[in-house]
């Protein structure tokens, strides 16, 4: 069974601080996605990473896919209250192509 563990589970920080969220597995994934979910809504895609070692930047967010395609990280620089939400990683399972979601990281950024 493929599992994706995220850490930390909860994170409460002050506006302007930096943070990193980790997504780890013992399984290899074809690709990996990061989503953000706000209360009462479905998750919204932030990024897809495909190649081992790939790094993608979206404004203040930096995403990295591990060389072995088993893990990923999300780094936020100078966090803002608008970054508050539940962050979910999702690995695309090799062969079946279904999505295995991580356990989630709930981020709260205080003004």
């Amino acid at each position: 069974t493929q599992l994706l563990e995220q850490s930390p589970q909860f994170l409460s920080i002050q506006e302007g601080e930096n943070l990193t969220v980790y997504c780890n597995s013992s399984s290899v994934f074809s690709s990996l996605q990061w989503y953000r979910q706000e209360p009462g809504e479905g998750p919204v895609l932030l990024v897809t990473v495909v190649t081992g070692g790939e790094v993608k930047k979206l404004k203040r967010l930096t995403f990295q896919f591990g060389d072995a395609r088993k893990d990923s990280s999300l780094h936020i620089t100078a966090a803002q209250p608008g970054d508050t939400g539940l962050y979910l990683c999702a690995g695309v399972s090799s062969g079946t192509y279904k999505y295995i979601f991580g356990t989630g990281t709930r981020l709260k950024v205080l003004a």
Binding site: S30, S31, Q33, G42, P43, V50, K98, G102, G104
Partner: protein
């Protein structure tokens, strides 16, 4: 354009009753997924449909759960003889296709199911 819609948005049912949850995907999306999310947790895969292929039902937790997709569009998730542990938010998503590079999944707002 219209996004993914789900109905009802909330459902309260008594233990032992059957429930049907509906999902209308984005037009033209060939892949459709059902997930379950317990309070503030990650998403648990239930089932997915891809075009005319046989659905991947590997995530259905018991034989009380079933799903169908009619005409490659609307999908219904049915839970028979509901139990209290079935209480959760049920999310539906659709995507243009599926493959190793991953396609963007567009999620509906979910159906919050409460079994009393």
């Amino acid at each position: 354009g219209a996004g993914v819609s789900q109905s009802p948005s909330n459902k309260v049912t008594e233990k032992g009753k059957d429930v049907e949850l509906r999902c209308d995907p984005i037009s033209g999306h060939t892949a459709l997924y059902w997930y379950r999310q317990s309070l503030g947790q990650g998403l648990e895969f239930l089932i997915y449909f891809q075009g005319n292929s046989a659905p991947d039902k590997s995530g259905l937790p018991s034989d009380r759960f079933s799903a169908e997709r009619t005409g490659g569009s609307v999908s219904t998730l049915t839970i028979q003889r509901t139990q209290q542990e079935d209480s959760a938010v049920y999310l539906c998503a659709s995507s243009l296709g599926f493959g190793p590079s991953g396609y963007e999944q567009y999620f509906g707002p979910g159906t919050r199911l409460t079994v009393t």
